[in-house]
Symmetry: C3
Subunit: 272 residues, 3 copies
């Protein structure tokens, strides 16, 4: 098991929440290396958190433990899980946020609202039911600190998955981030994230973009240019971003402002 | 002595200040593990910094070194201290920020504005007067980098407290965060922090909340529901937050916006 | 070679970019200690990033590896460099951001817009041309993750500079941050950074400030008081900040607001 533990949350950095999580992990495993993915997920936006975690995932070494806590249902009867897919281990609430542990073929069975899917062969999921691996006193409002953090620390110390609680054969999943293909051949995605530069990242995957050129429509704007790099852009255009998704960018401006793109806006691509 | 050093400040993350502090610590002790509590304390708000540090404190291992720098009096004649209470060690300006090293019984003697109290038996406080443990050149405006950081690094390397300077038998303290009890039995607290979710955290401690139910008044709003979890809420209500204080929350909204709660607003609780 | 790797960028903390860079470094060298200088450089503001990195530089131990990525030209023909000056090693785009590897005497030859200068004796600069030290697949838009991060990790593992690619005898530099001296003896600088407290940091170096007292003009405001510390200020004044530059500050207010100072505003100082 890796000593690298990543954290993804909607806690922000202005409160004591992230520090408390780190304190709990380091109290149990002073040798853990903790890396923040981001804590600036919009409050309760589970899918946005999933997207950002997925974008960073491929760059962490095998065995990394990913703790993800966007958890509006904390303290309710929503389940808490640890999931291992042989490459990485995921700890968090069972609300779709851990979908990235699953292959696309599983996630394809889920609706956009998120729903339970079967955990496939080769993936282990356990319910965090064994309180030996929780903090002695568990609050009803902060399982990141009281359950997920100590479980991650114990994982990093080599406690096997099966010890944390009973196995489960289903978990909640969201579909993969991917545009849909309409009957007329158009590719229909949406703006899934606006980054710091104002680039609007869409759910249209690189391999969905027609190789012969593409025309993109968003908010009544028509973009005809597939640029190779940001510095190639003149005005607004599209390019394949570093996470493998089509993104909308504007030279020396925030595309989200220039084209008034908001999260969730429809983006339609057609072969040029 | 622990190799864990935490940092709490009002430096923000957009300047070079936090990085310079970390560079100084790692130059002296490359094996230190540095954890940010938060750097987003409002500029010069010593009490807010104290509150956030106090909330995170219980989750760090014994021997952790806590550096806290909200220091409007830097370069003046305000003293600089290292304080050990047998559980943790605190380094920072003597302006009340290090109150969390003291038991409530000491802090009860201080006024809300902060004032010197006697350092009780079992707690050691030394003035950071020995320049051997400071940077060779000490600026007048950044003791976080030039005094507190190197002192913390030397502490983490095992230098005993007494070496840093002469002992002192008093230090400035703030009263504990706790509501007052009026003669008619009402519990009078205030909003001490608004968190990222817009929850208004009050100074009313969990053990001050009547067990038979509670009615809370803030800004002319009357809240009658003590919820168990955020997901139990319908509209606005109160619950016991993860740091053990009563907090005001609103379902799917920022309570601070919904009820127009600002820092310092009075919050009154009564047995229902 | 140090195991300390610092990061300076305009990535912000709300996206997956910083985490991906850290994942790549830790995948190659799990023992690396990664320190954020700041990721809040204004998008594409190379000079601001250089200034902040320069302010933090002196506080890191010899051999520290500094990765700096403010890189509007990513994917174009701008070069990527590793530069060692015997004290520290710098990795990033060849756009002036790595100027801090050079002595002032070299940088004095560059114009304010940045231009190539000769790499002097004692400093080694190599072009990052050897793809063995890049990620197997290099995106056109995120060399921070795909080139600079793995190069930094390999440096931290002891790979010698010469292995990363062919040596170069020039690199792009900006002039040092320093005020100019007019014929009439006035000192003409500019506001180079507004910090979290609203202090306006100027390019006027401490050693350019007349020792007998100074009068400063900015935006039609005349400041006559050289304070020793922030707490000495009454109203607005100037002082020597912790990075060795004259700065404009206001008691209990943000000077940038009180005096309406913006980045780039001219600041003129005269002997009093």
């Amino acid at each position: 098991m890796s000593r690298i533990v990543t954290l993804t949350s909607d806690f922000g950095l202005a409160d004591h929440y992230v520090a408390s999580v780190k304190g709990v992990i380091l109290s149990l495993n002073p040798g853990a290396t903790i890396v923040d993915i981001t804590h600036d997920v919009s409050p309760h936006r589970v899918k946005q958190g999933l997207f950002l975690l997925e974008c960073a995932l491929p760059y962490f070494p095998p065995g990394t433990i990913h703790v993800a806590v966007i958890d509006p249902g904390v303290g309710s009867d929503r389940r808490a899980l640890v999931v291992s897919n042989g490459t990485a281990v995921f700890v968090g609430p069972d609300n779709g946020l851990l979908s990235c542990a699953l292959p696309d073929s599983c996630r394809d069975l889920a609706s956009e609202a998120g729903e339970p899917v079967e955990v496939p062969a080769g993936i282990d999921a356990s319910i965090l039911s064994d309180s030996r691996f929780h903090r002695p006193s568990v609050s009803r409002t902060f399982h990141g600190r009281d359950i997920f953090a100590p479980v991650a620390a114990h994982l990093s110390l080599g406690v096997p998955l099966a010890d944390f609680g009973s196995k489960t054969d289903f978990m909640i999943a969201f579909p993969p981030f991917r545009a849909s293909l309409a009957d007329d051949g158009t590719i229909v995605g949406e703006a899934i994230h606006i980054d710091r530069f104002g680039n609007a990242i869409t759910t249209i995957r690189a391999d969905q973009v027609p190789s012969g050129g593409v025309t993109v429509e968003v908010n009544g704007h028509r973009l005809e240019r597939l640029a190779r790099t940001y510095s190639d852009l003149q005005g607004s255009g599209v390019l394949i971003g570093s996470a493998g998704f089509l993104e909308i960018a504007t030279a020396e401006r925030r595309a989200a402002d220039a084209l008034d793109v908001k999260l969730g806006d429809q983006v339609v691509a057609r072969a040029a």
